[in-house]
Every structure is written in C-alpha cells, then in structure tokens.
Symmetry: C2
Subunit: 281 residues, 2 copies
C-alpha cells in the first residue's frame, strides 16, 4: 500500500512569497500556510487551532481523542466541516459537556499544543503497552531513510513538523502541520476513523521527545516512539513509567534509547558512535 | 558587558540519564529538565507553564506583558516565587480580573505557547516600529557567529529553544527554555524589569518565524526579527503589516528577508546563494 502522505503540490498548503537574499537580490520562496480551524463538539466550542488545513476531519477527531473528550466507546454520528467558516463540528451519540475542563489548562513544553488536561495524565496511568512489540535496528534504519526521502512540505517549504505512523520498515501515514501537535492529532484521528490497531506500530516524529509527545503516544497505545531530535527529562521519566520504548537522535545508523530498551533487536551493525550535535526541532 | 546567558553547568537545568546506543552499549547523556510553574496575578490563577525554571520572575512578568495582562503603565508591587510550591505571584497596583479572557483561547501554530488572546492581536495593530533602525549584514554575520558559539544548554543537552536580544553585533541577553515561548517571555520580562529600550534592538530566535513569534516581537516593540529557521505564511503577512524586518534561514553568510527589507544595509559580501535545506526548529 502507498503510504498516505503530504501533497507538497497542493496549492492550498503553501504559497509563494517574494523577498531578497543576502546580496539584496530578489528571490521567490514557498512558505507554509496556516489557517484557523474552530472545533465544536456537540454544540460546545472547544478550541481554535492554527493548522495547514489539509485534514480537518482527522485533526478534529484526533484532537478530541487525545484530549480524552472523545472516549473509545463513543460513537461519532457526524463530522461536519464548513470550509468557508473554518469550523468543524463533531457530533457523538453521548451528550458531552466539557465546560469545567476547558477552564483549566496547563501549558506544556516544547512544540506543544499548549494544553494537556488533567485527566489525560490520569488515563495515561491505566495504559498497558504491548510488551511483545519489537523494533529491529535494520527496520529502524530503513524506516528513517524512507521517511527522509518521501515528498513532503518540509522539503518544499520547511518550517513544518512531521509525524509518521509506521509498521516494521514501512511508513503508513505521514502527516505534517505547522504545529507538531496537529500532526500527531491528525494521525490519531486517522487511526480512530479507520480502526487502525496501535500495539504493532511505531510512531516517528521530527520533533523533540517532550512530555506531551510521550503522553500522546502512550495514550494512543503505540509502544515505540522514535525521533531524530532529542529528549527532555520529563519525557524520559514518563516513557519509563509507561514502559514506552523511547528512541531519540535517530540519524543514519545511530540512535540513543533512554527507555524500553528491551523491545530493541540489534540485527544490523552500526557505523560506530557519532557525537555530532544535531539540530533539534 | 558580558551578555546574560544560560548556565549549562547549573545542575538544576539538566540531569544525567542512562541509556543505550545503536550497538546496545550503555551511554550516559544529559537531558533538559522541565518543571511546572503556576502563575498568579493578584490572586487569580492565570496558567501553569512547563519551564526549565531558571528565571521564574522574568518568565512570569514577560508572560503577563506579552499577553497584555500587565499593561505598560501598571506598577509591579511584588514578585513572589515559592520554589517549593512551584508558584510565582505577581502583584500590581491596578486591580486585575481576567476571568472572561481566560475562557477564550486560540491555539497558535508551531512551537507556540498555545494561546494568543484576542486583544493581543488588537494591540498589535496600534504598534509603530522604529523605522530608523538598521541591520548591517556585517553585524548580522558577526552576531549569528557569536550566538552559535556561546555556551548553552543547547550545546550541552539539546532539545531546547533559544532567543537572544541583541544590539548591533552584540548578544545582550540569551534565554533558553523547553518552550520557545518561555524563552521569549523571559526576555520580555527582563526588558520590562530593567527598563530596556526596544526600538534599537534585534531579536534572534532559533525557532521558526510563526505568527506568534511575529506578534510577540512586534508587541515588544523590536523592529528586527532574525531566525536560523524558516517562515510561515501568516508570520510573513503579519510582519509586513507591522513593518517588521523579518529575516529567516540565517546561516553563515546567507539569509532570506521577506519583510521590512528597507532596514537592511548590505555592507558585507556574502559567499553567494545557498539553496541547501536547513533543519527547521
């Protein structure tokens, strides 16, 4: 199956802008577009997000799922996206009211959505990640190579974050957005709407392994999280607590694993240790 | 004057963690710490932020100033940081009540704080940035070189964002944090508490030039914003509207200017155009 991936040629996602370079010469560059999307759940306004806008349905469902506002047993009865109004409405069979919860917010670190509600942390504690899952280093190296060479808005315009749902050495779903949290949520929404299992998957992100990224990966039930970027201490702590396999600084044939090492199968030789500082995202 | 800069040796800011590398060999790495800080303004709980925690006073004041909750004419009567409770309280001569505003939030894009309140955009419209300010390319190249070689948590542990307040070719204040928004706010707080003028300064960020970064720079009154990373379309639009000089992809002797080009003085030859894709942060 061809992976579901970004379409860098979609004219709604980037736009040309004129400027000058270091010599004062005129240049034209492409930059990523961001637009507001206001999310309603059963008539209640939840949040306004800035997004590139390519998958409002996945983004809306994934946001609600990752915030625990949409429960696993909830039935989604309608998804209504109004492109002119920049509004998406999700309706469920269950009556919902999150007024109290919307008052309380915690700004998370890093390239974060900015908000993790208290009970997301609570639900996190009850999760049991698949202990049978394995990550072969040969697959990891093939996977990161495949991801880096896929067409993307990153290669076209830069200034964007990517997340990839993977299985073995195959990228399955590649989502990008101006906010990394949106890319994660779009994948969560796709998984929810298409009934994709999580226990046999690998989650790849271009961004840092912050607390929020770990919380969301665990919440989604995915046992392995990989990034080309680095770690934060709280991200490592949470990954260890949840028994999530946490791999950072994955570049070429090198990586650093700081949690859940027992899922890693070392079946391919590396080229030795590289201590080069990589650019964090 | 020595620039105020991060202390990578401060044991509260990073911690050692053990893991394994790509060959299964044990390695020890340093990772950045993040801790919660709950901000009160005159008895009202405003927000809980995740931060490395090195300058809670600057962070608190800068956050409130950048959210327009602390007005230019307000007098700060007390700053009280309780390290055990992870709480900081700011008191002002003016009675404040932001209950209504706290209900309404917009999640911004990128490595964003997640929240830009409506009236921040409104105040943005009344700002007039210094049109006499100039950026000489020779200063820019010296500045980016100086910043890249300063001791930093980035070089020690990675996975962190940096912002630098500069004048001419001199970095004055270098702040880092797990969230870029925190680094910006710490600089805003420092400027407010020390009466630093803005119109003759340059603001440098390691992160992307998103709408939020542009809004905050304009709100702080700084006429020139520089990044090693790329642009978003809305960031460019807002910079043009505010007449902010917006320079991205600044690496070595190369950059791209997409707004406010008239402040740039080309007094140093570059090495030609580089089209290499740089890593975005």
């Amino acid at each position: 199956m061809e992976p579901l991936s970004p379409n860098p040629d979609d004219p709604r996602l980037t736009e040309p802008v004129s400027g000058i370079d270091q010599d004062g010469n005129p240049v034209e560059s492409r930059v990523v577009v961001e637009r507001p999307l206001t999310l309603f759940l059963n008539g209640q306004e939840i949040v306004t997000m800035m997004t590139i806008g390519d998958h409002p349905d996945y983004l809306a469902v994934g946001y609600l799922a990752n915030q625990n506002m949409l429960l696993p047993e909830d039935e989604i009865t309608e998804i209504d996206h109004d492109e002119d109004l920049d509004v998406v409405v999700i309706r469920t069979n269950r009556t919902t009211d999150y007024e109290e919860r919307l008052k309380k917010k915690t700004l998370t670190s890093g390239c974060a959505q900015g908000t993790v509600f208290g009970d997301l942390m609570e639900s996190f504690e009850g999760v049991h990640l698949n202990t049978e899952a394995r990550l072969h280093t040969s697959e990891l190296y093939a996977l990161t190579k495949a991801i880096n060479t896929m067409p993307s808005l990153y290669l076209t315009a830069g200034a964007i974050h990517g997340c990839v749902l993977c299985q073995g050495d195959q990228p399955l779903i590649y989502m990008e957005d101006v906010g990394r949290h949106n890319a994660v949520d779009k994948i969560a929404g796709y998984m929810r709407l298409n009934g994709i299992t999580a226990g046999d998957k690998i989650f790849y992100t271009t961004g840092r392994l912050t607390s929020e990224m770990v919380i969301k990966t665990v919440h989604m039930g995915i046992p392995i999280l990989v990034s080309r970027s680095g770690f934060t201490a709280w991200g490592v702590d949470l990954a260890r607590e949840a028994n999530l396999t946490l791999i950072g600084r994955a570049r070429g044939h090198r990586f650093l694993a700081l949690a859940g090492q027992e899922r890693i199968v070392f079946d391919e030789e590396s080229g030795g240790t590289d201590t080069t500082r990589v650019e964090e995202t």
